[in-house]
Symmetry: C2
Subunit: 115 residues, 2 copies
Amino acid sequence: MKADAVRGHLDGLLLAVLEPGPLHGYAIIAAVQRRSGGALELRTGTIYPALNRLERLGLLSSSWESAAGERRRRAYELTDAGRATLAGERAAWTEFTAAIGAVLNPGPQRPGLAT
Amino acid sequence: MKADAVRGHLDGLLLAVLEPGPLHGYAIIAAVQRRSGGALELRTGTIYPALNRLERLGLLSSSWESAAGERRRRAYELTDAGRATLAGERAAWTEFTAAIGAVLNPGPQRPGLAT
DNA sequence: AGTGTATGTATTGGTGGCCAACATATGCGG
DNA sequence: CCGCATATGTTGGCCACCAATACATACACT
């Protein structure tokens, strides 16, 4: 998978992996990698600014977890607005793949029956 | 569809619309738009440099058509290398959608049955 | 006690690909 | 002869993401 592959779809990925429950940055990277079967390897320089942005937009909320004997970690959680946006991202993804897919793999042409 | 949507997939689109036969620039834009159901509207500033690049790479060949009573137009045609690359782009597209899709819409989890 | 490794958060600079805008030319209908 | 649709092309700019870097701490090992 080329480096730049997630371009334009990063927000959806982040929101999606946070849907089941809160995660911190490192765990988000691991979750994306796992759920993609190892195909997507996000970098910290990619997600931290993105998480920050999503929080500023009100799609995520964060809180520091500092259990004793643990490094401090910041857990991100979906807000209601985030959930709504995630639904939108999923719809956009469907449209996007349909559009590109239709050009890349046009179904069997049936001349004369096109609508 | 956001403006930047085709980023990273442009080459595949161009090769795909040229698969059935040669087309000139303007017709390529129209073909992509038609096959995508109107969702993808490429700009001349997008495709002309791209077509040039693909020709330099040997994936396309071009020839000027100048029928009498017609504006001059440059028809682009797939080369064998272009056809091979198109196959690769299709495979890459499948991988790409599988990866993003798996993160965005993880199938019903079946704990304990994961492979 | 000291060293290394894995975990964890964060910032900075750079790049490349696409778009918006612009420039130009011509066939054709009114 | 004027405007519109068709047609090919160039230039500048933006911005999202990556690579590299920096730093801090828990824990295992010696």
